[in-house]
Amino acid sequence: MDGQGLSDAPRPTELASATAYLQTEAMNLKEGSLDQTFIALADPIRRAILARLNLGKARVTEIAEPFPISLNSVSKHIRLLERAALVKREKIGREHILSLNPSGLDEASAWIEETKSLWLARFDTLNALLLKRKRGEL
C-alpha cells in the first residue's frame, strides 16, 4: 500500500509559493476592492476569525473570546473584514451577529457593502439634523 500521508506532503516549491501568496498580495497596495480582500486575508487573526465564521454565525463577543487581544482590537479586525465585504453583520434585537458573506470574494459584494456604509453614514447625519431641528437647535 502506498503511504498516502507521505504522498500528500508538500514539496519545498509548494511551500515557497503558498507562503509567498498571501505576503506578496498584501504588499500590492493598488486601488480596488479586490485588493482589500487580499489585505484582509493577509492577517492571521483575521484568517482565524473567518475560519470561526466558516463554522457558523456568531456574536462579536463569541468570536473575540479565544483571542489574547482586546475586544476593541478584535472589533477593528472585524470592521476591516466587513469593509472588504467578506463578513456581514445583522442586528438581531440588541445583538450583532456576524456571518461570512457567501459571495464575499467578488466586486459586486464589495460595492454593496461600501454603498450601504455610505448611506448609513448619511442617514446618521440626517437623523442628527432632524433631531436638532425638532429641538429648535437648527
Binding site: 508538500p10 509548494e14 507562503t19 466558516n54 459571495s103 466586486e107 454593496i112 442617514f123 439634523l129
Partner: protein, 150 residues
C-alpha cells in the same frame, strides 16, 4: 416608468428616523437641508444644491473637498409624498454609470422607517472561481504545510 432590464446589483438599507414620514421625505428635496447631509462631508469647502422636487424634476449637487469637485445629478422618476421617492443618480465627470435609488417611508411610532434600494447596472467582474470552499482549502493546506515544516 420602464425600468432597465440589464443585470443589476442592489444595495438595500433600512433606517429608523426620529421624525415623521413627511419630514424625512422633504429632507431629500429641500435644497438647504439636503446639502447638509446627502452629498457632503466634514471636509467640504463648497457645496451647492439645486433641486426641483417633483416628478420629472432634476437635481444637481456639487461638493468640493480636498481639491476635488464631486457632482451628482439625476431626475425624479417616482414621486409620492410622503411614502415613495425614486431618482436616477449619476456622477458624469467620474463615470458613465447611472444608478437608480428608490426610497419608501412608513410611519413607525413617532418616527419613520425608511427602506432605500440603490440599484447599479455596472458590469462587475465574476466572483473568484475559489469562493469560500476553495479559500479554506488553500488555508488548510497552508496550515498543514507550516505544521510539517516546524
Amino acid at each position: 416608468m420602464t425600468r432597465r432590464l440589464e443585470p443589476k446589483t442592489v444595495a438595500t438599507v433600512v433606517y429608523r428616523f426620529d421624525a415623521p414620514p413627511q419630514d424625512v421625505f422633504d429632507a431629500w428635496l429641500d435644497p438647504d437641508f439636503a446639502g447638509k447631509w446627502w452629498f457632503t462631508s466634514p471636509t467640504s469647502e463648497m457645496n451647492t444644491t439645486r433641486i426641483d422636487g417633483r416628478l420629472g424634476g432634476e437635481y444637481e449637487i456639487v461638493d468640493r473637498r480636498d481639491g476635488i469637485t464631486y457632482r451628482a445629478i439625476g431626475t425624479f422618476i417616482e414621486f409620492e409624498r410622503p411614502s415613495r421617492l425614486a431618482f436616477t443618480f449619476a456622477m458624469p465627470e467620474m463615470s458613465d454609470a447611472v444608478d437608480e435609488v428608490t426610497i419608501t417611508i412608513e410611519s413607525d411610532g413617532d418616527g419613520s422607517r425608511m427602506t432605500l434600494e440603490h440599484v447599479c447596472y455596472r458590469d462587475f467582474k465574476e466572483p473568484y472561481e475559489s469562493g469560500w470552499g476553495m479559500m479554506f482549502g488553500e488555508l488548510d493546506k497552508l496550515l498543514r504545510i507550516r505544521a510539517t515544516n516546524k
